[in-house]
């Protein structure tokens, strides 16, 4: 019997992690990506390997997911991670009043948390605001966005998955009864239209998920929510520095190579192919970021950009829980052959892939369990060195 063929649309974090998982479960996998790998939201993440601290108070489900996945990624893909931890610092009295529920929530979620005196915190990170009132240390980390995706994709390729980049989906193929059994694509490098058949098509297009579900006549399951990031040209800290308070604009500073990145904001948008940067948001990042790290004022911006989160759950803005959603459209709309995975965050890419692969395998009667937790990823360079 030949292997079932799964087409995954999208080579962002969710797509590559799902390709990795399904390849390990014996599926024949083809990933379709309209640009190059990781060109959308995933590439533009600030690169925080969440400990869950940012979600602990308001969204325990997300926080627990984060700390579990954080520890797994440290194990399976250390090649792309700066595992240096993170600080939450209080600058104003109002931050201090958040401390008690923050400690309690972190402990409830299994996030290791230690309190530091301002002096201890300044010894660890001499460039943080010297007027801080209190600090907590938690197991945050940072990662290289592209290399994280490449490591999953390269390992998937090693296990037989194929990647068709610069290939855009133009339509879904159906069996005449509305069930999806393939995709019509434009190979943009060759300027050629192709039809590719599949047993299941997985829509892993994140903030663009609505474009694919729209091809099946279904509503968008996601609200695209862009936010700004500003990278400054000096590595002023070795670990993520968060504002101790309810998550808000510009409340996190992350080290990356010789830079720090300050993020972010949150607003709704519809067409997210190109979101221009606005000057007021750049100013806001400088103001808010320098409250955490005053030295940012003596640096120069190196890269300013917008990244669009795929938020799920209805409504808009920060109040939406950052969990992900996986839909088998047979269950939700009576359309077989199409699965949509969206929402979530970079830190949870592996578990999002696990749940999606579970759905796909259940549909096809494949009795193989997920082994990605225990499978170290190969070198991210394999993605480029293994021929398609």
């Amino acid at each position: 019997m030949s292997k079932p063929h799964i087409i995954i649309i999208g080579a962002g974090f969710t797509g590559v992690a799902t390709a990795h998982d399904l390849a390990l479960r014996g599926c024949d996998v083809t990933v379709i990506e309209r640009g190059d790998i990781c060109n959308g939201t995933s590439g533009r993440t600030h690169g925080l390997l969440h400990s869950g601290g940012r979600y602990a108070v308001k969204d325990k489900e997300s926080a627990v997911e984060c700390i579990e996945e954080n520890m797994i990624l440290r194990r399976i893909v250390p090649q792309v991670i700066e595992p240096n931890g993170g600080l939450f610092i209080a600058i104003e009295e109002s931050d201090l009043s958040y401390a008690e529920q923050f400690i309690e929530s972190c402990e409830e979620c299994g996030i290791q948390i230690d309190e530091l005196t301002p002096q201890q915190a300044l010894k660890l990170e001499p460039n943080i605001n010297p007027n801080l009132l209190s600090a907590f240390i938690i197991p945050d980390g940072t990662f290289d966005p592209l290399r994280l995706a490449l490591a999953f994709a390269g390992t998937a390729k090693h296990n037989g998955a194929r990647f068709r980049t610069f290939t855009e989906v133009e339509g879904l193929l159906t069996d005449g009864q509305g069930n999806v059994n393939g995709v019509k694509v434009l190979d943009r490098a060759a300027n050629r239209l192709l039809e590719l058949r599949a047993d299941v098509v997985v829509n892993a297009t994140g903030a663009w998920a609505g474009q694919i579900t729209g091809m099946a006549g279904l509503d968008a399951p996601v609200q695209p929510t862009p936010g700004i990031m500003v990278a400054y040209d000096q590595r002023l800290v070795q670990r993520a520095v968060n504002r101790l308070n309810v998550p808000g604009d510009g409340d996190i500073v992350l080290p990356q190579r010789r830079m720090v990145v300050v993020g972010t904001t949150s607003f709704d948008a519809e067409n997210v192919d190109y979101i221009p940067v606005t000057e007021d948001q750049v100013k806001l990042m400088l103001e808010r970021g320098s409250e955490l790290i005053p030295g940012i004022r003596n640096t120069k911006p190196r890269g300013i950009y917008m990244a669009t989160r795929p938020l799920v759950g209805g409504g808009s803005g920060r109040s939406i829980a950052r969990t992900f959603k996986c839909f088998d459209h047979k269950e939700t709309h009576g359309i077989d052959g199409l699965v949509t995975i969206t929402g979530g965050k970079a830190t949870t890419l592996r578990i999002m892939a696990e749940k999606t692969a579970d759905v796909v395998c259940a549909k096809l009667g494949i009795d193989m369990s997920c082994v990605t937790k225990e499978t170290p990823l190969l070198s991210y360079r394999q993605y480029y060195t293994i021929p398609n």
Binding site: D36, D144, R302, I304
Partner: protein, 241 residues
């Protein structure tokens, strides 16, 4: 960011089996935007068939290296104001010395193979990162921290290298710099890889690699240092050390 310029983006185009050409796109831009923004806008609003590589938009991934008016630039951090002017034509082309996949996108396979061959470090202890910035003064705790290596593997050094232009077999600046970083003494298996026909003796010391590196790796200097390491190792072998 209220200033507006009109520029013409003269863009290299090549599809499979077709001859290369240049397409001109007239764009209204903010001069403080990046070259990559202009390229992305061509794709978003003018011509959906344009292929190019990009991911992080802040010089951490190395995907968006291109030649801008003939010079290798990481386009996500190259501000339009620094490379062109209002009313001017700005030429964007793919990196040299790589096979073109389509338009501005090139195939990195061979380059990554060479980086893998020397086992280039992806992460390293912060204190081994040779940071020259004096303002982020070191403190003793830094010894415990790990960071991503500076080399983004963007391939711009290969594109600029006059020796790489003569043979695709040459290891090239980034892989040689990675070998220097790992050190011959600590990793003697590297000796035969770099001390070879296509290894470090091919370098002509043009230092074009160092000139275009967007990430402070300084491959030219590192290749010179690697030569010292190799000579030291070979002298050592000669005298049985």
């Amino acid at each position: 960011m209220s200033e507006k310029w009109t520029i013409t983006l003269r863009t290299y185009r090549q599809k499979e089996g077709e001859a290369p050409r240049y397409d001109d796109f007239t764009l209204d831009v903010d001069p403080d935007e990046y070259v990559l923004d202009a390229v992305e806008r061509v794709w978003a609003f003018h011509d959906r068939s344009l292929c190019f590589r990009h991911a992080c938009h802040h010089s951490t991934c190395g995907a968006c290296g291109m030649r801008v008016n003939g010079v290798e630039k990481l386009t996500c951090i190259t501000i339009l104001r620094d490379v062109t002017q209002n009313g001017a034509t700005l030429k964007v082309e793919p990196l040299r010395n790589f096979p073109v996949v389509s338009d501005l996108a090139v195939d990195m396979g061979d380059f990554y193979k060479k980086n893998e061959m020397v086992d280039a470090r992806a992460v390293l202890p912060v204190i081994e990162a040779e940071i020259e910035h004096p303002s982020s003064a070191w403190n003793p705790n830094d010894a415990q921290y790990i960071r991503l290596s500076d080399c983004l593997e963007c391939g711009m050094c290969i594109s600029a290298c006059p020796v790489a232009a003569t043979t695709s077999e040459y290891l090239g600046p980034a892989p040689l710099a990675a070998a220097q970083d790992r050190g011959i003494r600590r990793n003697p298996e590297l000796l035969n890889i770099v001390d070879s026909e296509d290894g470090l003796w091919r370098c002509h010391s043009a230092f074009e690699c160092t000139a275009v590196c967007p990430s402070f790796v300084d491959p030219g200097r590192r290749i010179m240092d690697l030569r010292k390491q190799v000579i030291g190792a070979k002298l050592g072998q000669l005298f049985g050390k």
